[in-house]
Structure formats: C-alpha cells, structure tokens
Symmetry: C2
Subunit: 331 residues, 2 copies
C-alpha cells in the first residue's frame, strides 16, 4: 500500500507560481508514489474569512482548476472539499477535549499568525482552534506524511500529541504518528522583490496568466537599481530576475555565464528579462492551456470534486466510527 | 404551532429528587403546552468527563429511564442523544468564528465553573468552548425558550449574540432570539443539609429508590441539633426535614400546625420523619414502578431514543443546510 499524504490549500484565491514552486510541483511528483489527499480547505478558510463567504466559495473551483492545470490527476489523487465532510467537525469536537487552552496559546505558529493578523483582542475562537481542526484533517485520513513549511512544524507536533492522547485515554490504536516533509525549495519572492508573492499584492505570476501578462510582469520586475546603463556592472544578488532564473532556468551552465556577463557589464536588463519571459512562458503555457480547457468544462471539475469528496468522506466516516466506538458513543 | 423548548441533562448519573424539583416536574407540566426537545447531552458531558466514557455511556439509558419514570411521554416530547447528531458539531464549528476568545473568557458562567473545577491551567479547549456548543444545541431546534438556573443566564445571552451575529454577517433570518425561563423553585438541599444534592455525595434521594432506601435516607436527615428530647422546643429553620416538607407536603395547613407543635416542643424528630417518609414514598412510588417497568424493557427505551434522535436529527440537518446556504458552502 502506498504511503498516504494529506495536503491542500485554503481557497482564498487562484494559485500562482509561488504555490507551484512551494507545493504544487512536489504534489505532481508525489502523485505516483503516494496516495495523495488534496484538501480544499474552505471551512478552514472561513476561520479568518467568515465575513467573505463569496471569496471562499468562488475560489474552491479556482483552486481545483489550478490543481488540474499543473497536471494533478484526479485518478491518482483525491480532490475534496472540506466543508462537505461533516465528520471533520465532529472529530475536531472530541479532539478539543484532549488539548488545553494553555497548550494552544503556546503553539508558535498560532502565536505568530495572531501577531501577523493583529488578532489579539478580536481573535475568533474558530481561528484560535484551527490547529485542532488541522489535526482532524490529518488524522481522518491516516496520513503518513504532511508537507509543510518550516514554520508549520508545531502543527504536526500538535497533531501527534492529540493522536497519542486519544490512543492513551481510550486504550486504542486508532491513530499513528504523522511525519512532516519540509519542502526542499524555499519561497519565491514576489515580482516586486517583496518576500511574499500574493495575488492581492499584485506581485504574483498566476498559473493561468497569458503570454502578455507574463511579459508585462517580468518586464516590471526589480533588478539592480544601480545598473543604469547596459555597460555598467550589475548585481545578481537580490536581483529578482536572477532569483527567478535560479529557480526556473533548466540550463544551469548557461545561467552562470549570463550571471558573469551581467556582473562584468554589457548585459542589459531587457535581455535577462527576455530570457526569463521565454522560460516562464514555456513553463506556464501548458498549465494555461489545461486551465482554459477545464474552465470551459466546469461540469467535469464539479464531478471531480464530487467524486473525490465522496471517497474522502467514506474514509473520514470510517475513522469517526472507530473513534465513536473507542469513546463508547455508540448506542 | 406550540412554542419550542430545549432542555436536557448531562448523563453523568441517574437523576434524583433534586432534579425533579428543579426541572423534571416543570418538564412534565410543559409537555402539553410546548414542543419539547429533551437533549441527553453525552457529547457535552464528555467535555469534562472525556476520561470516563463508560460513565457517560451507561447514564444515557439511566437518564432516559428517569424521564420515563417522571411521566415524560415520548409521544409528546422528543428524547434524543446529542452525540448522534453530528450537525451539532458542524454548527458549533461555524459559530466558533463568530465568538472571540476574549468574549468566552468574560462569560461569567464559564469563569465560575473553571474556578469551581480548578481547571485554570489544565482547561481543555472543549470545556472552554461549551457555551458555543450549547448555543448550537439551542439554535439547531429554533428554541423559543430554555429553562435555566439563575447562574446560567449568560449562556442564553451568548446564544443570542451568536444568533444575531450569524444573521447579520450572512444577511439572513436564520435564527431568532431565545428567552430563558428561570425555574420558580430553588434548589433542594441534600439529605445532609449541604447546598447541593448529588448522588456521588450520597445525600440524594433517587427517583428509583425503594421504600426502604427512602426510609433510611430520611431517618438519617439532619434536623435541629439542639432538639435533644421530645419535650424540648425545636427549630424549623435550617431543619432539613421541614425544608423537604415545605416542598413536598401537599397539606400546607397541616404542615403549619406541625411546625408550631415542633417549635413549642413535644414533637419528636421520629414523627416528622415518619410524615416525610410517607409523603416521599407516595411521590416516588409511581416513579419507581414506572422506572422498574421500563428497566425490564430496555428495547423500548432504546427505540424511544432512536426515534427521537432521528426526528431531532432531521430538524438539525435542515437548519445546518440553511446555514450552509447562507455561508455559500454549497457546491
């Protein structure tokens, strides 16, 4: 039996090339060797977007389209919508008894996110409890591994604490430990050089971008502000175009030559941008085409989500039933 | 249409005469004029008894037997088991987004219970969130009124806040305000004179007690410690036997004569206890008989719970569906 991966996204916007680098590419690589569950976490997105239900609703389809666009195959991976699996809420309810308020308050990820979102005084209980909700998502599917960012390891620890406590209190082997895989590749900066790429900041290359959009975004990229004339020596470090080329240029030797040329002068920004535009378009073109193809066949996308959700629900329901037996909540 | 009442008990032990006075008698009186939902709150009981699943499991049947014993009629009231209605967990999940952590921390009932149970440091998230869980129970059934103790009014306020916020945020009229009914009759003391009657303190007259058990418990009741000889004047105030007679003696004029006699001396404790024994046995005998009758027909009790739970689940599922439409979590 293949090992199980649980992974997914909050549907708060269509995905971009940063998501591709950070997770989607890995998922594509994983889909043959793992049984992969792809969670479109609409209920979790509601914990900090409860006042924007339209945003969450619309982006469920967008995220599914992005999954299909990068070549994720619904025959290999299970696409599913969190809110359509009520068992996840039920599991969370009982897990909430196994975690103290003090323990959640000490969770570094939660601490940091609360700070970032300035939620201290107005922190909703739902957002405060989302590590417990995530534990339910992971444990419902008996996941062996969960790919996470470096800052999310405390979430996995929290999940394993809950799993062990449940097994201990109810004297069962209902759950096993889950391991994290920390992504090999770091974060891609925004096209403006800011640390985070995000659609709402307008500094993201989207998976459905047209050739023109890509061209425009790359041409607007920050390079070296001191590289004023072509003949001037330029800096490669902190130069967004080279940061992107480092990720995406398959010709590493050619890239090193280019960097040397840029450093000693005589290579214009226009030329390095032209190269990046070609590479980005070659990468995105097939995604864009697949995305367009599926976007005119939303009935198919809906069916993928319905089938995947039905399959995932059966798995979660079976686990919930085990839990209820363990807790003697069967009459 | 009859107004709707939601009420119920945490199944942590069989019920006693204190429950009868505090709530069961009212429920019996209400069952013709209200549509009454009787919640056996096993999942809520788990929030502070998660390590004692057997206790909760066993007492679901005991509580149902007690309901039948006092004459609650499953044809008139809906008996149901909380854990078998997953929609209640689901509702709670979304309500958690509408309440801040700070707001729950300010809930006086929660504050007091945390203090009483010395849970400060080890407070489970589930227990902390139980006011939100209660709001789900109430709002799922469109309850018009909820009978509460005086100390529980903050729970009703919390429920109405959630109801109004949901309506406001999602621009719907999904929920209406609920009102509390504060019980007319106060608390019956334990047979030892302590403020709280409780099976675990051994100071409770149970609804299934035999004539012998009642006799023994009444005979052990505290009276007036200074009333040493029959001819001594005795005190009626703080005398547990008279506190019980005040509640249960239907002959108010006769009771006043008895009190006067006791006060001036010449009336032994044995005689007032004999009177109370007769009254308590007359009250309890039909309950005990009904309880015994149903206890040998547990198949019937199970059927009552199954039918009631099925009916209640349909109501809750309909409300959850309305909520999901409002939150656009329908695909």
């Amino acid at each position: 039996m293949k090992p199980i991966i649980l992974t997914g996204d909050r549907p708060t916007g269509p995905l971009h090339i940063g998501h591709y680098v950070g997770s989607l590419k890995n998922r594509f690589d994983f889909q043959d060797t793992y049984k992969q569950y792809l969670l479109i976490a609409d209920s979790q997105a509601m914990t900090d977007n409860f006042e924007r239900p339209e945003l969450v609703h619309e982006n469920v389809t967008q995220v599914a389209l992005d999954y299909l666009a990068v070549g994720l195959d619904p025959k290999k991976s299970t696409f599913f919508i969190q809110s359509q699996i009520p068992e996840l809420c039920e599991m969370m309810f009982y897990f909430m008894n196994l975690v103290t308020v003090a323990r959640v308050q000490r969770n570094p990820t939660i601490k940091e996110e609360i700070k970032q979102k300035s939620l201290e005084e107005s922190l909703p209980v739902g957002f405060f409890c989302y590590p417990i909700s995530q534990a339910a998502d992971i444990l419902a599917f008996d996941a062996d591994v969960v790919p996470v960012g470096e800052d999310q390891n405390p979430m996995i620890e929290q999940t394993n604490e809950i799993a062990r406590k449940f097994n201990l209190v109810y004297k069962v082997k209902c759950f096993k430990d889950v391991k994290s895989i920390v992504g090999k590749i770091g974060r891609l900066p925004g096209t403006d050089g800011k640390a985070k790429m995000s659609k709402s900041l307008g500094n993201a290359i989207m998976l459905g971008d047209t050739a023109d959009q890509i061209k425009k975004k790359v041409n607007a990229m920050f390079t070296d502000p001191n590289h004023l004339r072509i003949e001037d020596p330029g800096s490669v470090e902190g130069n967004v175009v080279f940061m992107f080329l480092d990720y995406f240029d398959p010709d590493k030797a050619g890239l090193e030559e280019l960097k040397a040329h840029y450093r000693r002068g005589g290579l214009g920004d226009g030329q390095i941008k032209k190269r990046l535009i070609e590479i980005m378009d070659a990468l995105i073109a097939p995604m864009r085409e697949r995305r367009l193809q599926y976007a005119v066949d939303l009935g198919y996308v809906k069916q993928v989500l319905t089938d995947g959700t039905q399959e995932a629900r059966q798995v979660a329901a079976k686990k919930m039933d085990q839990m209820k037996h363990a807790m003697k909540l069967i009459y």
